[in-house]
Amino acid sequence: MPSIEMTNPAALPADWRDIVALTKPRVMSLVVFTGLCGMLAAPQLPPLVLGFTAILCIALAAGACGALNQWYEADLDAKMRRTAKRPLPDGRMDRQSALHFGVGLGAFSVLLMGLATNWLAAVLLAVSILFYVLVYTVWLKPRTPQNIVIGGAAGAFPPLIGWVAATGHFATLPLLLFAIIFLWTPPHFWALSMFVRSDYAAAGIPMLPVVAGIQNTRKQIFFYSLPMAAAAAAPWALGLTGPIYGAAATGLSLAFVVLAALVLASSAAKPSEMRAEKRLFGFSVLYLFALFAALVADRWLVW
């Protein structure tokens, strides 16, 4: 891109690429995938265009959460190497535009969800946005090392919303899917925060490794992986899914617990030496994708 004859880039209208970056597209992909799987696991499917719209609304709501998170945390992001190049801390966009964009996108996604599917799904979508922005970002994250434990609920909503958008009501299976993501979030984020803890410390965010130390965090990662594995097996144990999901949940959860045990056994102190934590973090993303893919495969091939 050619250089521009100016010193204050925030005075320019934001580039569309920066507006897209504000929505955290990579985070959105996991949210959209779990929402889609929640919908595809439901006993009845909505017409194609309504199903597509429901998933679009989940994606837009996730984008709104990303934008509002970056709007609120622009000062903190500037202090962390991992986030300093985002549009707001880098000065490529002004905060007011990010706020307007986030609020507008969130309101639009809720309204469209209500009009296209049902208002219960729209209310759940609104609750998930408000929970992520107000409860997690504004309230918990800067105050307590338990931020990700309670805040993890925000990321657990998509499969529930996908299911409710398709059926119009709650059921045991989507509530268990909610529980799986809720219990998966702490070991996933704590594994990441182990090797970027200097960033969190610099920004003054009380993530568990910063406040309680890395050995204590290793114990918590392992102990949280056990109820997560139990929650992952529950849909099969309760007879809500078939053998494909049962086999996948057992194998994947066993691998997760073994990798968490390797983290527990590790004594690496430098981020560059934290191979066990990096391996668990990488596997945790694959774990969720594979578990939900198995759920859909089970529903369509066996159940």
């Binding site: 050619p2 004859e5 320019l12 209208p13 569309w16 909505p46």
Partner: protein, 42 residues
Amino acid sequence: MVKFEDEVVRRQRERARITAWLLGAFVVLLFFITIAKTGINW
């Protein structure tokens, strides 16, 4: 070196074009949502 005013115009045009496409896509989506909600079969 690109002039500030030229860059402003370029970005505004680019955003206007994208907004127009998104609005168009939204109108088409609303049309199909209406068809699906009213249960019309082609």
